[in-house]
Amino acid sequence: MKRLTLIALLGLALPAFADRMPLPANTPASFKTECASCHLAYPPALLASKDWQTLMGGLKDHFGSDAAVDAKTAQEIGDFLSSNAGSPSKLGNAGNPPRITQTARFVRKHDEVPAKLWRDPRVKSAANCEACHRNAASGSFSERDLVLPELKR
């Protein structure tokens, strides 16, 4: 009984963890060495499996940059991203090339951000999560960890 209550409580608590997205413990080292030099190592749950596959298939021209990796590494990163990907129905369409920042879920979570802040020199790009979420690299997107004074309430 106690155990059941605990499970029920955990279930209730889960949605509140939407602001905690640390990289899974089994994250391959290659994901950090290959996908975290030009930007944050994005949490895999923020894109659907199909979108990660599209993205991994086009690394030679990745948003104007060359992010190509060898076939073995591509397989390893692709498998990791797919098996930790988010639910397509919750995320919504990510566009092509797929962007986390284009998904309906991202847009909804950021509807309070003033439009001009996205182009602010301190931010540069919506993909620059760390400009606003100080601890994004450790997976924290909580309101408490927002940096820009305009975002404080």
Partner: protein
Amino acid sequence: MKLLTTIALLVASTLSLAETPQQIRQTYAAEAAAQQAGFTASAKRGETLFRQRFAVSDKMPDCTACHTANPVNAGQHVITGKSIKPIAVAGNGERFTDPAKVEKWFVRNCKEVVGRLCTPAEKADFVAYMSEVR
């Protein structure tokens, strides 16, 4: 005895995955010398390359776009805003110690900024500048 030497060499070769900036510069310089007799790397030419405006890419017209005019300081990716550790050895002792990593980034960034692959001579010069600049 011969066996021991072989083993020692094998061990040494697996350990030598990490190299010094001098070794990496030497490898590129040797490649350049094979095409151009008497080649020696020049930090001065490396600096010229670093500062040259290629304007192939709007956002990344030259190396300094991300690495700033002073390579000893930390830089910032012009598109994503991500901070980039200093590219010069004086600012970051880990630079130019992993040959595969160095080559990977020469391929990527030369294509994007210079609009073509860099030559072995350019790579030797660039490593020379980044190892010597203070």
